[in-house]
């Protein structure tokens, strides 16, 4: 009964509906730098949201922020033990000894976990903040910035643990480690684009959340977390570099373990890809923004 009502309303409503003129064009949603102008304009809000999320995270615990350090420490210990004692190392990674293999794996894990967390969370990001989006003037684009910055905060804690560990076993850090921000920033841009895209799609249907739960663990094996790209057959390597996470992880390893600069062409390609993903993801979000509030 309701179905027929709908149909009749739709068919007549459709023929009568006035032309969709551009209504209040989103003034600053165009332009190459739009995602950054947005972040600057709402910086206070982004920081306030980030503060809230970080304050909330360990609020009801006794150990509080210690958990953020304990987590990475335990996984670092487990992977070191597992791959040195229980399993045999892949050949190439054994260069530099078990401690450096643990380092290498840990770098892979930090980057992968950062990405995985955002993949799991993004499709539900708008649902999570539905109360804000529906009842206040809330720029929902900023949620991606908040989510990525939160992810990087935890990754940063892990990175600190890693640096201390590296210092402890090698007695010194590679000077190239100072260049790490040059890899972190494009990685952040790439993740931003990913979050925007997934958040917009996830608003329409929660299937994307389940899709992520299904494919992210598979992605772990397609990403050089437990091995290095140099371990795989030479013919397959170009393929591996197509995975942007692989490039990010390898470049971070170059800087932190090898003490070498990543190849210029790889870095340049990564930089361009990062910017394109970021801007593209933002464009997807902006395209659907007008109807997002009506579907969540």
């Amino acid at each position: 009964m309701t179905g027929t009502d709908l149909k009749s309303a739709g068919s007549t409503g459709g023929s009568r509906s006035p032309g969709r003129r551009g209504v209040r064009p989103a003034d600053d949603s165009r332009g190459l730098l739009a995602p950054f102008i947005l972040a600057w304009r709402f910086r206070e809000l982004i920081v306030a949201m980030l503060r809230r999320e970080l304050a909330e995270r360990f609020r009801h615990t006794i150990f509080g922020w210690a958990w953020a350090v304990i987590g990475p420490l335990v996984s670092l210990a487990i992977y070191t033990i597992a791959f040195t004692g229980v399993m045999r190392l892949p050949v190439g990674s054994a260069r530099g000894g078990t401690a450096n293999y643990a380092l290498s794996t840990f770098i892979g894990l930090i980057v992968f976990n950062l990405c995985a967390e955002l993949c799991y969370r993004s499709p539900l990001l708008l649902h999570e903040h539905a109360a804000y989006i529906k009842t206040s003037i809330f720029p929902s684009e900023t949620l991606a910035w908040t989510a990525v910055m939160r992810g990087f905060t935890y990754a940063g804690i892990s990175l600190a643990v890693l640096l201390v560990f590296a210092l402890a076993i090698n007695g010194t850090l590679q000077p190239t480690a100072l260049l790490l921000p040059l890899v972190i920033v494009p990685l952040g841009l790439m993740l931003l684009g990913l979050v925007w895209c997934l958040a917009a799609l996830g608003a329409f249907t929660r299937d994307f959340a389940y899709l992520m739960i299904t494919i992210v663990p598979v992605m772990m094996f397609a990403t050089p977390v437990f091995y290095r790209i140099s371990d795989i057959p030479e013919t397959l390597r170009p393929l591996a570099y197509l995975n942007p996470l692989a490039s990010a992880i390898e470049m971070a390893r170059n800087l932190l373990i090898d003490g070498a600069l990543p190849s210029a062409s790889l870095y340049l390609a990564f930089l361009v890809a990062a910017f394109l993903v970021c801007r593209g993801g933002y464009a997807v979000f902006e395209r659907y923004k007008g109807i997002l509030v009506d579907v969540i």
């Binding site: 739709g10 409503g13 209504v23 003037i137 579907v295």
Partner: protein
């Protein structure tokens, strides 16, 4: 000239998309530019409204008439499907008091967050926090997690945050219904003072409140403006119409916004 006008709508309309199947929603996302996979349901149509700076306009109408959607359009929460909309000035919407609060953090932290959403700088909010707490009148509870608040305390704090947001235009949706008499008096006193420099749009089911506050009343019915004029005149019309009305299911129809009332028994 346009600076004297706070809100101007011309031919404003909002249609929601109703999907028959879940998969249609995905198809719309993927192939929306080629075909339409939804039915339209017009919540608001042909809204022509002009509110001058410093004016206080009341909005009345029965549940589901489109009042809240109108406010949501005005503050840009949802985008209009057609028509023109012009809003001059900084908005502070009080749509669902306290619904944006996070239960686990204190009232003070929530005020910081709520203020940021309204576009205030952190330093500004920090400076105003004492005043916000004072106006809300919740005493030491401002430092307690919001989940411990009663619903009245939540709305007190939420109203207080909006009241200190330096807005030019306030949109108020049934906001005063929850507070107790004392707080309500305080709010009305505040709104009275606010009107000297700001613009006010109030949705309420309480005729007395609207009659006391508003210069002008707009009656929204079935997604259209049915009448608009002086408060006394429109409220009398509206009261007359509601007296005759019976509360039955025919009030909420999918097709009501697009058509004249369906003949009785058509279903």
């Amino acid at each position: 000239m346009s600076s004297d006008i706070a809100i101007r709508c011309a031919g404003l309309g909002k249609a929601y998309q109703l999907y028959a199947r879940r998969t249609d929603r995905l198809k719309q996302v993927a192939f929306g530019s080629f075909r339409r996979f939804y039915q339209e349901y017009w919540v608001l149509r042909d809204i022509n409204l002009e509110v001058a700076r410093g004016e206080c306009v009341g909005v009345v109408g029965h549940n589901g008439a489109g009042k809240t959607t109108l406010l949501q359009l005005l503050c840009g929460i949802t985008r209009p499907t057609c028509g023109e909309l012009e809003v001059n000035g900084r908005l502070a919407p009080i749509l669902a008091l306290g619904s944006g609060f996070v239960g686990d953090i204190s009232g003070r932290e929530n005020a910081l967050l709520g203020g940021a959403m309204l576009g205030l700088r952190r330093a500004e909010i920090l400076r105003r926090l004492p005043a916000i707490g004072e106006f809300a009148g919740i005493g030491p509870f401002i430092d307690q997690p919001v989940r411990l608040y009663s619903s009245g305390m939540r709305s007190r704090l939420a109203f207080s945050i909006c009241a200190h947001a330096d807005a030019d235009i306030m949109l108020i949706d049934e906001a005063l219904a929850v507070g107790d008499a004392v707080f309500r008096r305080k709010c009305l006193r505040f709104l009275e003072a606010f009107r000297r420099f700001g613009t006010l749009l109030v949705v309420s089911h309480e005729d007395d409140q609207i009659a006391a506050m508003c210069d002008r009343v707009v009656w929204v019915d079935d997604g259209r403006i049915r009448a608009s004029g002086s408060a006394a005149e429109i409220l009398a019309l509206y009261r007359e119409a509601t007296r005759r009305d019976e509360d039955n299911g025919s009030r909420f129809r999918f097709d009501s916004a697009a058509h004249a009332p369906a003949p009785p028994g058509a279903d």
